[in-house]
Symmetry: C2
Subunit: 199 residues, 2 copies
């Protein structure tokens, strides 16, 4: 904008780099921040710097942590025998929120995509295989989403472990609880029908 | 979230204070920032601190500025005789973007709202009246929006200046350019009809 203070334009620029924040929203956020209590801007800036400096990847599961080993991996009450493999660190959240998984996690860091040059070594797949060989893993839950890439990644890991004793499972697919049938997409309906269970 | 690093939770907390950013979006933004190039977090933190420290209110028009007097007020090519009165500093933007207004601005800082205790002295109305008395203002464009409070604020300023020579105007109301008539709300249609002009 013509005649706008450079520090304001720079803030708008930086905010608009965030996902789903366009230039107009960024401008609205900047004006909101400048019009209110300015200390809020300081707290947000501090939170960003702190998060940047403190948060590392857990060296065991590759999730986010403030220490070498994250709180989940460190917890002696979690069942080491059940390993839930997810694509991204953020995928741990829904499991922890539901409280259903008592085992540990392993973040792959993505899914296989040969066309984009993402091979097993580009992800943490070698580390996963090594960990399973060394530890007493009884069950591997491959919780990798339903894109073709995610499905072939799960298949790849399943095949590599074909001769191992580890039980490989994946999450059930079906109708989400509370959904109206008329709003279910075709693929979900297909899967829910195929994987129907006896009452 | 249980077991989530405190620095991550703090960042989510700070981001969710932004308008239209809920807790889920804040978490998505935080994960995005942590997963990508960490330098981005530093630039955003810097932009926030810089904006907080550098941006002040222009002492003449109360818009945002990095100096005592903003670039618009300082520009000798702007027509000092035409003063466009707006509610918030962000309202200057659409005028500057269109490039139609060659005069100056004056930010009221809000609109009158007796029920909320917002009286003329709570806004910059006394400064506006003083400025008009002292300067050669020919026209005052009251660009204050169409809420009942905004309309009564414009009326109030108009009455205070009843005995002055300053021409008071407001923006035309009507159908936005490019709009389909069927999507126009009732009040806009009423105004557009009332203020119809001869072709």
């Amino acid at each position: 904008m013509l005649n706008s203070p450079p520090a304001l334009e720079n803030l708008v620029q930086e905010l608009s780099k965030l996902p789903s924040i366009g230039r107009k929203t960024a401008r609205r956020l900047a004006f909101h921040l400048l019009s209110g209590d300015r200390e809020k801007m300081e707290s947000l800036a501090d939170a960003l710097t702190q998060a940047k400096d403190k948060i590392v990847h857990c060296s065991r599961c590759y999730g986010f942590s403030e220490s070498e080993i994250c709180q989940i991996c460190e917890n002696p009450r979690r069942d080491e025998g059940i390993l839930c493999v997810v694509e991204r660190a953020s995928d741990i959240l829904p499991f922890e929120n539901s409280g259903i998984h008592k085992g540990l996690y392993f973040v792959l860091g993505g899914v296989l995509s040969p066309l984009d040059g993402i091979k097993p070594e580009s992800l943490h797949i070698p580390e996963l295989i090594k960990r399973i060989e060394q530890e007493n893993t009884r069950e591997l839950i491959l919780a990798l989403g339903s894109s073709p890439e995610a499905e072939s990644t799960a298949l790849y890991i399943d095949r590599v472990l074909a001769n191992s004793q580890v039980r490989r499972t994946r999450l059930a697919r079906g109708i989400p609880v509370g959904s109206e049938l008329e709003f279910i997409d075709d693929i979900t309906m297909l899967r829910a029908f195929e994987e129907r269970v006896k009452i």
